[in-house]
Structures are given as structure tokens and as C-alpha cells.
């Protein structure tokens, strides 16, 4: 296996958790809810996923535990930010702090334990193909799931009535309410979906990326996922490209260090955020009027009574 192929493989592995977490956040934000608790939900997903797999020996059950944990934490956020109409930024930040603390508590006895890493696909003939074999046919289930999820999200958003209602709620909840849509229900479901995705993204880290648990192991990936949604200007297609780019930056940073290049690693780590700022500037230059972001993003909605 050449170095180039190894780099490509590790970029895919690094991109997958970003893509999973960002797709969930994309759905929540398209419904107008800014959930800054992605990092917290990923951490809790990572530790619960690991605990599930460690106890049962099954990657699938581990992944399920991660999703359930993410959904549970997102439900707490939905209760606060949608049910009680608390400021979304404050509730999201609190969620990240809570998630970090809870994960540390649950994970304390698990530090140092090992599990078997998620199996990779192996198709006789295809997987053995040079260069593209392992890239296309030798990934673990999470990678295929993440791509399938993205395709599904793109289709639902662009082509289905469900997607239309979701976008409408994120654009103008008052009008959506006036037309008879249940804004709170749509938003809650979107947030729960986002929580499930973040939990799964966290579980990927402990089940496939590294088959062990360490405190704080998401290392800011939740924040990168948030930046990624903005970077992609809320479009699923661009999200895939952005995830690959951000994943590549984090991998190249490691290789750059190995080769002794004189680029400070801190600068490399900051690249995703710098890229997001550049993209924000660009979209505001190119498009006038209207809104690329969901117009009601981050605003609470309480129907008139």
C-alpha cells in the first residue's frame, strides 16, 4: 500500500465523523434551530457507544447506544430551546458543557479498556483492486452509512414535501404556523435527528477510528462540524466536499509534522475555521438579498395565544 493510498484512506476515516455530525446539524439548522451542543452530543455518543460495544461485544449495539445517547441529550436541548423557548445559543453551549461532564463521569471506568474495531467490508476481487479497491470497497459500515445518509438528506430536502416543510419552518416559523404546520414538532424532530447523527459520529470515533475511549477524544470535531454546515452554506452536496476538505486538512497536518515541514500545527488546526470565515465572506459578496442561511436560524418561536 503506497503512501498516497494510505493518506486517502485516512482522510476518509477522518472525514466520516465530521460528515455524520454535520448532516444532523444541517437538518436541525434547516429547521431554524442552532444547536451548539454537537461537541457534547458527540462525546456522550462516543462514550456510550464504547460502553455498549464493550459490554456486548457488538459494534452494531455500540452504534445504537451512541445514537440513543445523542438523541437523549438532544431531547434535553429540545425541551429547553423549543419547549421552553430558551435562547438557543445558551442552551447549546450548556449542552456541550453537560455532555463533556457526563461523558467523563460515565467513561471514567472505561479508560484503558479495549474492544475489537468495526469490521471493514471485504469483497473478493473488488477490494483487492489496486488503489481504488480499498478506497471504494474496503471501508467500514459507518462510511457507507454516512454517504447514504447524505444522499437521503439531499433528496428529502430538495424533492419531498417533508423537506419543503422543514425549510419553510426554518425560513419563517410564523408563516408556517399560520398555514397550520406544527412548528415545535417539526423543530423537535429535526433536533432529535441531529442528536442521533452526532451520537453516531461520536460512536464512530470509539468503535472504528480508535477502538478505545479517552476523555475529551472528540477534540473539537463537534465545533468543526458546526463550522462545516456554514462552510457548506447549508447545502448537502457541498457538505460532502467540505467534510473531505476538512478531513484532509487534519490528516495533512499530521503528515506535515512527520515530514518536518515548518508549518505550526496550531495554524493547520485553525484552517477549517479560517476557511469557514472566507466562505461566509464570499457568499455574502456573491449573493445580494434573500438569505443563504435559514432566515429564522437561532430564533425561538412561540405561537400567539
Amino acid at each position: 500500500m503506497g503512501l498516497f493510498e494510505a493518506i486517502l484512506l485516512s482522510i476518509i476515516t477522518a472525514s466520516t465523523p465530521l460528515l455524520l455530525a454535520a448532516s444532523g446539524e444541517l437538518i436541525a439548522e434547516r429547521a431554524g434551530v442552532l444547536n451548539l451542543g454537537v461537541e457534547g452530543m458527540m462525546l456522550i455518543g462516543a462514550v456510550c457507544g464504547f460502553a455498549g460495544a464493550w459490554a456486548t461485544g457488538s459494534t452494531a449495539i455500540g452504534a445504537l447506544c451512541g445514537i440513543v445517547a445523542g438523541v437523549a441529550l438532544a431531547a434535553l436541548f429540545a425541551l429547553a430551546a423549543i419547549g421552553l423557548a430558551i435562547n438557543q445559543v445558551a442552551a447549546g453551549l450548556a449542552l456541550t458543557i453537560l455532555g463533556t461532564g457526563l461523558a467523563g463521569l460515565i467513561g471514567a471506568p472505561l479508560v484503558g479498556e479495549n474492544i475489537a474495531a468495526a469490521p471493514h467490508l471485504w469483497l473478493p476481487g473488488l477490494t483487492d483492486l489496486p488503489l481504488i479497491g480499498k478506497l471504494l470497497f474496503g471501508q467500514d459500515a459507518f462510511v457507507y452509512l454516512a454517504i447514504g445518509l447524505m444522499v437521503g438528506i439531499a433528496y428529502v430536502l430538495a424533492r419531498t414535501r417533508t423537506g419543503l416543510i422543514l425549510r419553510a419552518v426554518g425560513d419563517d416559523p410564523a408563516s408556517a404556523h399560520a398555514l397550520g404546520y406544527n412548528v415545535a414538532a417539526v423543530r423537535t424532530l429535526a433536533v432529535l435527528f441531529g442528536g442521533g447523527c452526532a451520537g453516531l459520529a461520536g460512536a464512530y470515533l470509539t468503535l472504528a477510528y480508535t477502538p478505545f475511549y479517552a476523555p475529551g477524544m472528540t477534540a473539537g470535531r463537534g465545533w468543526i462540524a458546526l463550522a462545516l454546515v456554514v462552510f457548506a452554506s447549508w447545502r448537502p452536496g457541498r457538505l460532502v466536499a467540505g467534510a473531505a476538505l476538512f478531513g484532509a486538512v487534519s490528516i495533512l497536518q499530521l503528515h506535515a509534522q512527520a515530514f518536518g515541514l515548518g508549518v505550526p500545527s496550531q495554524l493547520m488546526s485553525a484552517l477549517p475555521y479560517l476557511a469557514t470565515v472566507v466562505v461566509l465572506v464570499l457568499i455574502s459578496r456573491i449573493r445580494r438579498g434573500g438569505s443563504v442561511a435559514p432566515a429564522a436560524l437561532g430564533t425561538t418561536f412561540v405561537p400567539e395565544r
Binding site: R167, A168, A178, G289, G290
Partner: protein, 522 residues
Amino acid sequence: MAPPSDPGQTEPSPPLFLGRGLTKRFGSFTANDAIDLDLAGGEIHALLGENGAGKSTLVKLITGLLQPDDGQMMWRGAPVAFAGPAEARMRGIAAVSQHFALFDNLTVAENVALGLDARASVRKLSDELERVAQRYGLPLDPKREVWRLSVGERQRIEIVRALLQDPQLLILDEPTAVLTPAEADRLFEVLEQLRADGRALLYISHKLEEVRRLAGTATILRGGRVVGRCDPRLESTATLARMMVGSDVIAPKQSIHTIGEPRLSVTALTLPPDDPHGVTLRDITLQVRSGEIVGIAGVAGNGQDELFAALSGETVIDREEAIAIGGTAAGGLTINQRRELGAAFVPEQRLGHATVPTMSLSDNALLTGHGTGSLVRFGLVDRGATLALVDRVTETFDVRKAKRDPEAARLSGGNLQKFIVGREILREPGLLIVDQPSWGLDAGAAGAIRQALLDLSATGAAVLVISQDLDELIEIADRIAVMFHGRLSPPRPVSEIGRDQLGLLMGGSGWQTTEARDGAGA
């Protein structure tokens, strides 16, 4: 339009909708107080009342957007209670609201799809939409996003959306506010057709002439109570207005004044739009002189928004001398520099353009007054001065509000517009440019605004009024020009130009052939 048929012609049918003792309270304020309302199929029923009379609340009760605190609603003889708008819509109640329930980032077709319960695909709906739009003469491009559309075009979406639901009861809130007389006539034909189909129509309007033309029954609200029921065809506009307002409406009087030097000169202004779907302004030439009011008529979306933006400085023009304010070339100046030359501007959108909805009136007063006058001293806001300005506007223009300095969004449309116009007039401008001064206002507030504009011009200021309400322009303007496809007709004195002639220009005929051809290609 066909003359309203005699109610005796149609079979007396049982009321489609019956409201008994409908009451809605917000805290200690009673918006609807024991209102009775009968709506029968095959009848156009007018709901009259000033802003704040409780019309909107009543409509919200009927459409399920609000639930009554007291009283009973019957639909086809059976008691009903709507938990939400979807339930009312399911039974065949559709509404064209004054506040558009539209999504700016979605396309026309998507907006319509959201208003329908049918699970039709957006693409199939586009064809259906185009068909209905054509049939009723309400042209719409299904693929355009709403934020690119003018107010008039947005209303078309609402009307078409309601018509696509094939409603039994159709509620229309001020539907003609932004239509030309010809378009309004076409709409009346549609409404007459719907009435003849046996549907019930609840028609809310401040335009008493329209109500007299259209409706067979009228219910008049004042202060949340029913104060009268009548057959509007048997009443005069004056008696209807008296019932609605409770006193005679003061019609603005044409004051005698002398016309002086040009305060605004637009010379051969040609301007491509910022927005690819906007209207190109073509060779616009116009003068507004001291002491006169010039009106610009035209159907929404013919370049009025672009012209206002160019005049106010929201769009800056390369050719400086295309616009001159008080003799100074101003095409390249910013809004504030134009204000320093004595100009003042009142944009069409009251909330979000003329004012910041969540900011207090005093802060909103500061927004247009910070560059001129004495609201700011040594870089610090003089709170006393801004509050005093709010008080002066309140007193001079009779702005009614709950407290001294509320948020702009808390004011009713009429009171907010009085505040906005008053804020600009008290700056004693030499030139005032107003877009749609009385859109959606009741007769009382609209009259007050028009009178204020007349008074301002009498003091020697030049006033330019862009409006889609032809009656308004005929009432106050000295000269009227018409906008069509980005062109402006030469302004003609009101005494010399007839309403029919204006209507033809607004509809695109009567232009020189070359102009019409260029315009059609725009």
C-alpha cells in the same frame, strides 16, 4: 364587472357559517366582543372597520388561527371548533391575509404547495398554478423566489394559493390595495364568478366604493363590537364611513400654493437592476418643484422599488448628475448626504425598512435624524432630544400608542405610518419622497397622512409620492406620471389627464410604439 345581482335571484340557502357571541380577549383588552356573523353561500359579505376595530382578530377566529374565549361557531349547521388553521382549511375555509404568510427563500410554487393539503408534487403544481394564474389574469413565475417579488406580486401568490384550494368560504383582507383599477376589475369578475358558484366570500376593505360595488351585505365593526349591518348598495360612501369611524371623515383639501424652483431633477436616468430579476430603469426624466406634489402611478413591480432606491441613495449611481437634489448633483451621494441636502425618504415597508421593529420609537427617530438636527451631541445620543421628538410627532400627528416610547412593532399599521411620516416631516425637508404612503391603512389614518403631505407641500416643500392607489394620487397630486416596465411617462397635470387615460398607461397601452416594444422586452 357584472353588476351585483339581486339577492332574490339566488335560492335562499341556510347560512354556511354562523358565529354567535364570538369573544376574544388579550389580557384586559377585548379585541372581539360578542360578535354575531352570518355568512351564506352565494353572497359577498363585507367586513368594515378601522384599523384596530377587531377585523383581523375575527378573521383569525374563523380561520382557526385563534380560538374564541367565548361564543359558538357553526359550519353547515353543525357546531365547530377549530384547533388550528389546517382544520378550518379542511372544511373549505381559505383566506388571503393582509400580512402575507409567505416564505422569502422559497419559490412561488413551493409557497403555494405549502398552503395546500394535497400531496401534489411541486412540479405538477407549477403547471396547475400557471393555468389558474392565467385564467384569472394573475401572472406569476412559479420558479422565482419570493424575496425577489414586489408586494403586489406577493399578494397574487396569496390569491392564487387560496383559489387553488377550491374554497367554500373565501376571506379576502384588503385584496385590491396594490392592484390597478383594471386588475381590480378583473379580480371583481373572479369574485363575482366565485359568488355565482355558490361560495361565500368575506370581503374586508377600507375602500368603501369597492364594498358598495361588490357586497350584498356588510357588517361594520368598531372597537371590537358590531355597530351596524346594512346593504351597502343602499348606502352612500359617506354614510358607510360615518358608521365605520363614528364621525365624518375629514377629506384632505387641495390647498392653494405657489410652485417654485425644482427641488428634485432626474435627468435621463438609466439603471440596470442589482437583482437579475429586477426592473431596468430606462431614461427616466422627472422634475419635482417646490410647493408641488408629483405622483407616480403604476402596477407593482414596474420599477417603482428600483426608482425609490435610486432616489433615496440605497442604490448609488455612477452618473452623478442623473439625480440632482436642490441643484446639487446627488447621484453618487449616500442616503445621509442626501438628507443633508434637505431630502427625506419614507420607504414602502413600514417594519424592517422604515423602522427597526424591535427598537423603540425614539431609537427609530434617531435612525433617520442622526445626521441632521440636534439629536446627537459630541457623538453621544441625546436621549432627552429623541424622546422629545417622539412626543412632538405623537402630538402633531395624533399617533396612538400604549406608552410613551414603545417598540415600533407594537404600533398598529396606521399609527406607525403616522409616526414614520411625521418623523420625516418634522425634520422640515425641502424634498420628501414617499413610497406607498397609505397602503393598508383605514380611511382615517390614510386621510391624515394625505393631509400631512398636502400641508408639507403648502409650506414650499417638494413632494414625490409613489403609489399604486390611483384615487390617492388624484386626490393629492398636482401632476401624475405613470411607470411601466421601467419607463416613466411625462408627468401631466391632474386636471388634464383622465382616470381612464392613466389606467391605460398603467396597463401598458398608449405608450409610443417603440417604448412599448422596448418595455415589453425588459
